[in-house]
Symmetry: C3
Subunit: 348 residues, 3 copies
Amino acid sequence: MTRFTLGQLAEALNAKLAGDPARVVTGVATLEAASANDISFVTDPRYEAAARVSRAGAFIAPVGTRGLPAPMLECNSPQRALIDLLALFHPPRALTPGVDATAMVATHATVDPSAAIGPLAVVEAGARIGARVRVHALAYVGSGVEIGEDSVLYPLVVVREGVRVGRRVVLHAGAVLGADGFGYVRDGTAHRKIPQVGGVLIEDDVEIGANTTVDRATLGATSVRRGTKIDNLVQVAHNVEIGEDSIVAAQTGIAGSSRIGRDVLLGGQVGVADHVTVGDGAMLAAQSGVAQDVAPGAKLAGTWARSLFQARRIWVAQAEVPDMVARLKKLERRVAELEARLRDGERG
Amino acid sequence: MTRFTLGQLAEALNAKLAGDPARVVTGVATLEAASANDISFVTDPRYEAAARVSRAGAFIAPVGTRGLPAPMLECNSPQRALIDLLALFHPPRALTPGVDATAMVATHATVDPSAAIGPLAVVEAGARIGARVRVHALAYVGSGVEIGEDSVLYPLVVVREGVRVGRRVVLHAGAVLGADGFGYVRDGTAHRKIPQVGGVLIEDDVEIGANTTVDRATLGATSVRRGTKIDNLVQVAHNVEIGEDSIVAAQTGIAGSSRIGRDVLLGGQVGVADHVTVGDGAMLAAQSGVAQDVAPGAKLAGTWARSLFQARRIWVAQAEVPDMVARLKKLERRVAELEARLRDGERG
Amino acid sequence: MTRFTLGQLAEALNAKLAGDPARVVTGVATLEAASANDISFVTDPRYEAAARVSRAGAFIAPVGTRGLPAPMLECNSPQRALIDLLALFHPPRALTPGVDATAMVATHATVDPSAAIGPLAVVEAGARIGARVRVHALAYVGSGVEIGEDSVLYPLVVVREGVRVGRRVVLHAGAVLGADGFGYVRDGTAHRKIPQVGGVLIEDDVEIGANTTVDRATLGATSVRRGTKIDNLVQVAHNVEIGEDSIVAAQTGIAGSSRIGRDVLLGGQVGVADHVTVGDGAMLAAQSGVAQDVAPGAKLAGTWARSLFQARRIWVAQAEVPDMVARLKKLERRVAELEARLRDGERG
């Protein structure tokens, strides 16, 4: 069992300890679930009330917090301290370097000696697997693929031929990189496939969710830039480019050749049509759909998307539309009567 | 070929036979597709007309049905009788117990002797596979995973480390249980990953569709309670809880920490935002989106969702909005004219 | 490196060459990315300006194009010529026929000698794999499955028992064919599963995207007809039928028993409710949702979908609704005042 004294934690987290440095904690837990052996966390002042009734044996909390029922580690950023705390208690499992006896690594593939290839994984000819990479069981690495150092391929990931993956990239189970883009030309009634001969480029520090698909480009490359995080079941079509440090929530789809800027936030189930540019720092609310370019920094919602502010106003006002139909009709009658009366008055 | 006499079926289904008990049927088919060797089914009186022109050799039908062109098995619940009938003609294939010679079962895993592990499946150290479980080909069971008795993992299912799966659970091909939740903290421009060290708990009698993803919790567990059925390509985010006996249709997404009650019905492509509570017995129509709590028993539609009744009224009334814009402008002109005339009249 | 002279290309593409037939090109690239060794393409006159500043060493272009800065191959259909050009420079990789030593092919399966079965693929008993079929690594072919000649199963495809796949079909990585349909009958509070004992029929020349799911029928077959192309992450429920030469974009879902006609276009993230018929040649815009039958040739948008024309008019007019609420209220006051004044006038 992992054990730390509060003194050790204060040092590791660079936090100020209020309480006994010799006290021991053996786990991290939420305020509600924590027992006396756990350290818990107050990442925001609004959780202080919950903290006061928590049975946790210690807390990390923002500088200046008072009144907690157990020792406290005061942190400048409790959220970041929590990340470090979780990493201390749950260190990533050390994988034994080397190729599992049941993995199928082609003779012309290059696997760094510090990398680990799991049972029944397949690495095709010409692939290059970098230092400390972990390719888990039943994952597939196509011919000519490059995987940068410290990246992780979870079980049943598919990286098709020629795809390039950077360093510290995480590909979750079932993700498919490099399937053919969806491109056809009509030929009479039939659809003739346009060969999809481009690639996929995943830069450093990208994370790609379970069962997400990133298609290869027709020509050139579909690109996901450094630091961008993509959730589960997302579709990234051929020739899309997603800029640095963007966030793409689950089940969102980005159609062919669209360009998403850096630091963009796409909520869940968002749809971006093809050949659309979404500017840097833009934010699309969940379930919104855009078919036209989005200005940098814009905050949009709805299909077809409008400013979040306007979308909300419309949503509220819509509730009155059914009554407005009747009221308008009635008002038209009343005005007609007034007009008739005035006409009669003038005539009379 | 499977063969039953109508007498045998009447007994097995606890139904009253009107017709020759020695007559033999060899299959089950729809009213349209059935031939004289098939038994077909009338699960609802509105299908009686179709039944009258069916060529089926026999029918199951509600008590009191008359006028069918072939022998009939009268059932109190023809829908439930149909389930039994299908099970009689299509018994689940008996899998030979034991571990396939090509499966990779870690030495420290426990597999019940009555369980079956298919070709090239992987079971990691510390996993426990219960009685009569079927792990199909190329499925992955991570370290420390527990699979309860009589559960089925179809080919290429991924159950990552530490996930707990109950009894009689069905996991369809490509489903991923226990991928990391999607949680980051902003650190300047970069997104720092919050380690996702919690688990996933799937209770008894749950069914999870093909390529559906259920993420592990940050801390604690993402939970799907007893009897709930989840369709294909659904996203269940970290720390979500779905209550008992709920139904989640395809491509629906439930964001982090939301709580879905028991006996809830989520239609297809529904989106539930994070930290939302959906009350017991609520029903969200297909493609609806909710960002706020939903009362028990509520029936909602649209994004952002409103009562189904109101959503329908608004939808109908919206068709008049384009004309209303013009009519309102016209009416404003007419009222202004009336006002002017009255002013003139008073002045004059 | 692949090399062609322009003379060779003119002959292969049946194009008229304006320029030196001995000139050599070694690749195909977009107008922006092309270097002097590449041939590029003008598939539409609106790209001519970009072509004039391209550094490409040659172009394919529509008949009659003038003013390009390098030799030109005039084509009647540059789009179709581009397909041929890409195929010339990127011929499909020849796979060595035969069963990889690590693949698991059941003794009672039939594999044509010209077919290729990749490493760690699984082919169950009774499956029949046609001529020149390529089953890539880690793919799963269930018992009794038929795969027609020249079809391709990319890595980690799942084709469950009894599914029938035609000729020249392409199944992308992670696609799941033949998972159980989502059908239950309520039995008190519990949901009893209706055994899903039907099949899946994929006709010739169909393409199915990565991580797409096509469920097996309850009885009968879920069918995708000849020439239809389905993108990634699409859900096709039990007993659906999709007609010939239709296009289904990514993340669309089609619920149980619905019938999609031929030559239909479903945009991305579309939802079709169960038991709906979508007529031939209909077009549903991205993110639209239909719960009622769609007439042949209709063009719809929105949820619930209306004609694209009406949906656009409503969308524009909605922007005025919040103001209309206020304007209508104001107008009601003004009319009431007029009425009061007239009443006073009459009384006076």
